[in-house]
């Protein structure tokens, strides 16, 4: 075996953490079962690596084989479903003696997990389970809201460790519609299902305008309406919006008004407000506001950023 190839393989193997080494070597499929069995993986890493290089030399590893090992190492998402399930279950069972964990794999590399929680002394409550959907090829999971607060950190820890990540963060995005959450998180909502031509010209309906009114005003109104429609379409797109029921904004911003400059002028503190929008289909409702004349076009970015920022719970402060 070439010196450079040996060195390359050595450096590649050194980068692999010990707990993943056997998995990766098996996936590489270059060294035989028998060969691997001769290796004592409990030694110091340097000794393990030396032994492995020796085995590679025996089998005359080529540059191609080394390159293949490199590719496998880069593919960090070497997701092993069985290992994930075992690890997840073990973590929960070690912490709480009484817990029921069940799995169901579905398409799109998703695994549904059902957890019924008990305590050290009580049996699991099967009527208040938590559901988690983990998309193994992504760093995202979705958790149903029916979890007792004391179990949440444990659940987070189990997910993080079993999926081989370092930390789990709760996003400010909640909804009843799992499909919509998926669409927003995975940015799948902006697929046009129908092909539309650009907006059909608006027909002027009678707005109770005086017939004698200058035709220039009517023209201006059409222009304004078209502008609103165009901006709304640019902001929201042509496609059906993902379905959310709420958006919540916690505002701590100063009061600034153009109505009367003196109102609250000396006050340093911001106004503490909590604004909640609710609707059976929030984004569609927001989309209809500017065309109805209830909102300006363009609508505020605080509202239009919801799918983009993947949030529907916000804390806003003055900069």
């Amino acid at each position: 075996m070439d010196e450079t190839v040996a060195e390359f393989i050595k450096r590649t193997i050194l980068k692999i953490p010990l707990n993943e080494l056997t998995t990766i070597l098996k996936a590489w499929d270059f060294l035989s079962e028998n060969q691997l069995q001769t290796v004592n993986f409990r030694q110091r890493k340097e000794s393990v690596v030396q032994h492995l290089i020796h085995l590679c030399e025996e089998k005359r590893a080529s540059l191609n084989d080394a390159a293949l090992l490199d590719i496998i190492c880069e593919d960090v998402d070497l997701f092993d479903m069985k290992q994930f399930k075992n690890s997840f279950k073990k973590i929960l069972q070690r912490a709480l003696k009484n817990v029921t964990v069940s799995f169901r794999e579905t398409e799109e590399n998703a695994v549904w997990i059902r957890i019924a929680w008990g305590t050290q002394y009580t049996k699991p409550n099967q009527y208040k389970p938590t559901y988690v959907v983990y998309y193994s090829q992504t760093p995202y999971a979705f958790k149903s809201s029916s979890t007792l607060r004391r179990n949440t950190p444990l659940l987070g820890q189990a997910l993080t460790v079993a999926s081989k990540h370092h930390q789990i963060v709760k996003m400010d995005l909640r909804s009843r519609y799992l499909d919509s959450l998926k669409a927003i998180v995975f940015k799948q909502y902006n697929q046009t299902f129908e092909t539309h031509n650009s907006a059909t010209p608006l027909q002027e309906r009678s707005l109770g305008l005086d017939i004698n009114m200058d035709s220039r005003i009517i023209h201006e109104n059409i222009v304004e309406k078209e502008r609103v429609q165009r901006i709304t379409q640019e902001t929201f797109g042509d496609y059906p919006q993902p379905q959310l029921e709420f958006a919540q904004y916690k505002l701590e911003t100063k009061f600034k008004s153009d109505l009367n400059g003196s109102i609250l002028a000396e006050r340093e503190e911001p106004l503490r407000c909590l604004i909640k929008f609710s609707s059976p289909h929030l984004l569609e409702a927001l989309k209809s506001l500017a065309p109805a004349g209830i909102a300006d076009a363009p609508l505020s970015p605080l509202l239009t950023c919801i799918p983009n920022k993947r949030k529907n719970y916000f804390k806003i402060r003055d900069k």
Partner: protein
């Protein structure tokens, strides 16, 4: 939209990070200054708003047809009269009451309350036997009690308020004779001078009726009163104009400690989806805003109410570009009381009980006239 399948709970999203990910958890958003009008056109008749927007603006500024006074007294922390039963007053607070206006009662007598109890009791039982839906309990063991509510008045001229209760009779022959209260209704008149002047001696004016309990009971009791005293109940709705007055007045009241946040609820007339906007503001901040606006001591004027609401609208518009003035105010809630446009009220503060009732009496009287 069809409702979500019942098994679907609300889901939250979790994001799994590897060691090199770092996220900021707080947004500091640059709220833009209110943008100038979209157009600066040479034509002077086009002011940058669609006719619909202009119409909505004018509706907003339009004063209501109700000939309400342009100024009202700030509700004073009223000292209830000495003969008031504090327990009874406490019983009236923290409950949701449905409001009705009531025309004057013909030949009603305070000395016949026991008789009325008996008659109403018999009436309810008879209605139940007719097979009509009566939710007074599975059995007929109910007791109707009429009693006066002393001290619930504005001036000495106001007639005495009275209370009607339906209690379930206790099954057990124990010393505890008080059954569970199934339904409560009370009749009052606070500062009802304008109405009192117009009616003759045979009539008792108690224009404000408040009910708590099953709707079906309210209907039956209403029928009996209508038959017995030739009066007429009418549900009292509260329009947006009056809700804003209530919000301003109740914000103006001095409260020792705030028990509730100041909250407004708007319903947006967009289709096909409905949209509700709830706007809650810390009560101290609401008070600061009001104090900054309020100029006339002891009084609340129309201009101040309008300015108060406009400030709230403008703060909201700055962030969201939505004109709340084009939507429908449906509910207001403060530490003093909360009111819903459908005629529902909940009073939280005993100090201002009379003040709140005075306003409601005024609305009831207007509806009757």
């Amino acid at each position: 939209m069809k409702p979500p399948p019942p098994k679907f709970k609300r889901f939250s999203c979790l994001s799994l990070l590897t060691s090199w990910d770092y996220r900021q958890t707080m947004d500091s958003y640059d709220v833009p200054e209110s943008t100038p009008s979209a157009s600066s056109r040479p034509e002077d008749y086009f002011v940058g708003a669609t006719p619909l927007q202009k119409r909505l603006e004018s509706i907003r500024k339009q004063t209501s047809f109700i000939p309400t006074p342009p100024r009202r007294k700030v509700p004073q922390c009223s000292q209830l009269q000495e003969d008031v039963d504090p327990q009874k007053v406490a019983f009236l607070l923290h409950k949701q009451w449905t409001l009705y206006s009531l025309t004057p009662l013909y030949k009603f007598s305070y000395s016949n309350l026991k008789e009325y109890s008996r008659l109403l009791n018999a009436f309810i039982v008879a209605e139940k036997q007719k097979g009509l839906a009566v939710e007074v309990g599975e059995d007929f063991n109910i007791k109707v009690i009429f009693s006066t509510l002393l001290g619930m008045k504005g001036t000495q001229r106001d007639p005495e308020a009275f209370l009607v209760q339906i209690q379930s009779k206790s099954q057990l022959p124990s010393e505890n004779r008080e059954g569970k209260v199934l339904w409560t209704g009370w009749f009052c008149c606070i500062f009802g001078d304008s109405l009192l002047e117009t009616v003759s001696e045979d009539f008792t004016c108690l224009p404000l009726f408040l009910a708590n309990g099953a709707e079906s009971n309210t209907a039956i009791i209403g029928t009996w009163f209508q038959k017995t005293f030739d009066c007429y109940f009418s549900p009292l709705t509260i329009n947006a104009f009056n809700l804003s007055w209530m919000a301003a007045m109740w914000t103006a009241c001095k409260v020792d400690h705030y028990v509730a946040t100041t909250e407004f609820l708007w319903s947006v007339p967009c289709s096909p989806q409905s949209l509700d906007i709830s706007y809650a503001i810390h009560p101290e901040d609401a008070k600061a805003l009001w104090d900054s606006i309020h100029k006339t001591p002891g009084e609340v004027t129309q201009e101040e109410v309008d300015l108060f609401m406009d400030c709230l609208y403008s703060h909201f518009h700055r962030h969201f570009k939505i004109h709340l003035s084009a939507t429908r105010l449906v509910r207001v809630s403060t530490s003093v009381a909360s009111a819903h446009t459908d005629g529902k009220i909940k009073i939280l503060c005993h100090k201002y009980l009379i003040g709140v009732l005075a306003y409601l009496t005024e609305l009831a009287v207007f509806q009757i006239e």
